[in-house]
């Protein structure tokens, strides 16, 4: 048997949004096997939810993910409203969709920046995050919070989008379109990004079906699924938009899908604003006194894919059972397919390509020789070898021209 080197990424590492430990078993530079340990951040939210009132659960599930913090309340609201059997008002539908799509834009920009960083393209990182900032300002204006917006409740939303706020959202959408043109140009025309991401981390259509992956990860492999269209909720059936798909299944296809989705999000927001201008202000929440016994399944398309909430009510003030399935739960498992056979430098971007949730707490990452126990690489060196590869490619590309 050949000697394999173990390279752990994590449990705390900036590649990952949640603390997770990935063990890459490498033969030279090639990843031959991957194993992972999860659960470092298991907070027992499903169990906790059983001891909270329905109103409190909204704040609880909002804290599952800091980036796509509205997708969980969105799915939970859909599930509970199914149990109650109410139809929310049109104004509420449009407001919910505006929040959902603003979140998609800021989440995709965040991912794009990080992808750039892992490739050693830090200009892209700084641009993407710079243009993400005004979106967070919009959130602050609409909801009072830059993140964890506390907008949703059973039967409606907590704050209106008044007519006076609409012009600044429109102006920002105009600006973000121009910036998206710039970012799309910078990514799509860059020969180095092509060289680093095309043919890397490929997930075939069959892999997606086997792992039941969702969101941009599935759509980049030609699996045309999107809950917003397939199981319509909020204002999505009332506006015109299209589902973006790509066929290649590699990292480049995932970048492409996310970039083009942001244009669609901007268009959805503008159409929602048109409708909000015509509708009378106020009337944003129905009065719901009690949640009857029953079962509700709610879905929402988060930036990373389908969020699924299953709520069983026994007629009391809190859920009898609340099952939550976040998109990363099914997407992360595809690493088994996308990383094996890649070089270590490519495995890092393949791991980041499904946009797994992010933790921001780098504590330790080091490479050890599995037989001698000797330390070979640390976290910064790991990122350095990825960046170095981009530099080399950039040089050789320049040499061709």
């Amino acid at each position: 048997m050949s000697r394999k080197t173990l390279i752990p990424i994590g449990p705390y590492h900036p590649l990952q949004e949640e603390p997770e430990l990935f063990k890459l078993y490498c033969d030279g530079e090639i990843v031959r096997d991957i194993k992972w340990e999860t659960g470092y951040n298991h907070r027992g939210i499903e169990k906790l939810s059983e001891s909270k009132s329905y109103d409190q659960v909204f704040f609880l599930v909002e804290r599952i993910c800091g980036i796509c913090s509205t997708s969980h309340p969105f799915a939970f609201a859909n599930a509970v409203e199914e149990i109650v059997g109410v139809e929310i008002t049109d104004r509420t539908r449009y407001i919910r969709s505006v929040i959902g799509e603003l979140e998609r834009i800021h989440s995709h920009l965040l991912w794009l920046g990080l992808a750039g960083h892992f490739l050693g393209y830090n200009t892209l990182f700084m641009w993407a995050w710079k243009y993400r900032e005004p979106i967070l300002d919009l959130f602050e204006m609409i909801t009072g919070n830059r993140n964890s917006y506390a907008m949703f409740k059973v039967g409606g939303v907590r704050r209106d989008i008044e007519k006076s706020k609409i012009p600044s959202i429109r102006r920002e959408m105009g600006i973000i379109r121009k910036k998206l043109d710039l970012l799309t140009g910078a990514v799509m025309d860059d020969p180095v990004i092509h060289a680093r991401t095309k043919g890397v981390g490929i997930l075939t259509r069959q892999d997606i079906i086997d792992y039941a992956a969702v969101g941009p990860t599935a759509r980049a492999s030609g699996v045309d699924i999107d809950v917003r269209r397939d199981d319509p909720y909020a204002a999505y059936p009332l506006v015109n938009w299209k589902v973006i798909t790509a066929e290649a299944g590699d990292v480049f296809a995932k970048i492409e899908v996310r970039l083009l989705e942001m244009y669609e999000s901007a268009s959805i927001i503008e159409q929602c604003l048109d409708a909000l201008e015509k509708l009378e202000e106020g009337n944003i929440a129905l009065k719901i006194n009690e949640i009857p016994a029953g079962i509700g399944t709610g879905r929402a398309e988060a930036p990373r894919g389908e969020v699924f909430h299953f709520v069983v009510s026994d007629g009391s003030n809190s859920p009898a059972r609340h099952k939550i399935r976040a998109p990363s739960y099914v997407n992360i498992a595809t690493f088994k397919k996308s990383c094996i056979g890649q070089t270590i430098a490519d495995a890092t971007i393949s791991l980041a390509a499904v946009d797994p949730c992010y933790c921001c707490t780098e504590r330790m990452a080091a490479a050890y020789d599995s037989s001698s126990g000797e330390k070979i690489l640390n976290a910064n060196e790991l990122i350095e070898i990825s960046m170095k590869r981009t530099k080399e490619l950039r040089k050789s590309e320049a040499g061709h021209e």
């Binding site: 199914e82 792992y211 039941a212 699924i225 397939d230 699924f308 099914v330």
Partner: protein, 145 residues
């Protein structure tokens, strides 16, 4: 295909395996089946009808352990949940992970949190606690405080 047509097709083909059907508003259906029929019905939904496995939700109730296996037919927006009721004392059921990888993690999670055994699972190790939790203590059971 609407939800009713999908259910009629299923009940027509597997009338002996199905104990009850609940159709709900908004393209949702719950089909209660015998635990021994899970593989047959899942195979039919996944391989022949093109359903996608979303997730499974286990519950600890007065009846024992219940699992809802949620499947989605994305082309028509249908969610079909296969519902099984397992033994109170020694809950066990056949694993779906040899059919598709999507159920691998959730079965390990249910094994760890509820103590349900998944027969022929390729690797029924703990998913979340990695040895940091006592053996034989199941935090998602009702008696756990």
């Amino acid at each position: 295909m609407d939800t009713e047509a999908a259910i009629n097709k299923l009940t027509g083909k597997f009338s002996d395996e199905i104990a009850g059907v609940t159709l709900r508003k908004g393209k949702r259906a719950i089909v209660t089946i015998r635990p021994t029929s899970l593989i047959t019905l899942s195979e039919y939904l996944f391989k022949s009808e093109g359903f996608r496995f979303i997730i499974a939700s286990a519950m600890h109730t007065r009846l024992g352990f219940e699992i809802y296996y949620h499947f989605s037919l994305d082309a028509d927006g249908i969610i079909l949940s296969l519902h099984v009721i397992l033994d109170k004392e020694k809950p066990h059921i056949e694993s779906l992970s040899n059919m598709f990888s999507a159920s691998n993690w959730i079965e390990r999670e249910m094994h760890e949190l509820f103590g349900i055994d998944f027969l022929h699972h390729p690797n029924q190790e703990k998913l979340l606690s990695e040895g940091n939790w006592a053996e034989g203590v199941y935090p998602y059971r009702k008696e756990f405080k």
